[in-house]
Symmetry: C2
Subunit: 141 residues, 2 copies
Amino acid sequence: MEAVQNRPYSQTLQRLRDAGLRPTRQRLALGRLLFDSSDRHVTAEALHEEAQEGGISVSLATVYNTLHQFTDAGLLRQVVVDASRTYFDTNIHEHHHFFNESDGKLTDIPADQISLSTLPDAPEGLDVARVDVIVRVAPAS
Amino acid sequence: MEAVQNRPYSQTLQRLRDAGLRPTRQRLALGRLLFDSSDRHVTAEALHEEAQEGGISVSLATVYNTLHQFTDAGLLRQVVVDASRTYFDTNIHEHHHFFNESDGKLTDIPADQISLSTLPDAPEGLDVARVDVIVRVAPAS
DNA sequence: GTGTTTGCAAAGTGTTTGCAATTTA
DNA sequence: TAAATTGCAAACACTTTGCAAACAC
């Protein structure tokens, strides 16, 4: 539509290319929202709203599809903390989370700030795929 | 309807009474399914099915309501591991979980088998309510 | 041009709710 | 009998899908 800042634009472009995803207008726009800052935790609904506010026209269905494509491509990670919504995290490295149950906000905990000693053996025939630590917090009473 | 084993029956009866819940036919039946064995992890759907198979007539809505009432009363705990279903755990003590992503089965990990060193401080104004460790496992390749 | 992607609206899932009928105490 | 509980069906929130139109290469 109009000129955009070029650096993040082309960063996202490259990211999409590397992932084998066609850099469509929608993917570029969502990619910029997601990747221009770091450690973002979004729900589909929230990202859709943010896009609308930014004057980007994308359907909610496309936001869902895009988030899943990004996840499959390894650009995002899903975080399960709340049974009623799915969060997507732009931090794809090993780390954990604070989850504020009262406002639904997630905050990263760097992997080196939590150490798990003595992890029990996985049940037979199974391999550990990932360990998630969720520190559920609430307003101090 | 017919005679039942008396021990578990009255255990559940007592549990409900202690929790201030009227021991209705449905609650007793679901309570027996849940508490007669230990460390059960059920979804509403699965418990409903189990009840039907056992010849107990309960509506799915009542199963949901009952699971929540039991949870509010401290007899059950909710476990969030999968964005698409809610699990209820009969183990209400501190512990963690293996979650088998391929079949959706949960297994308890006793609290003393995992030790978390150096938990970072909660963000200001917030208290830690609970720490959940989820070890996601998958069939060995 | 050809195959991919989008957007809509419709369908799907799991879950919750309103309310009359039933049950418990 | 009064108050709590149940069950149904309808409503819900979030998410996925089918398919024609639009777009990228």
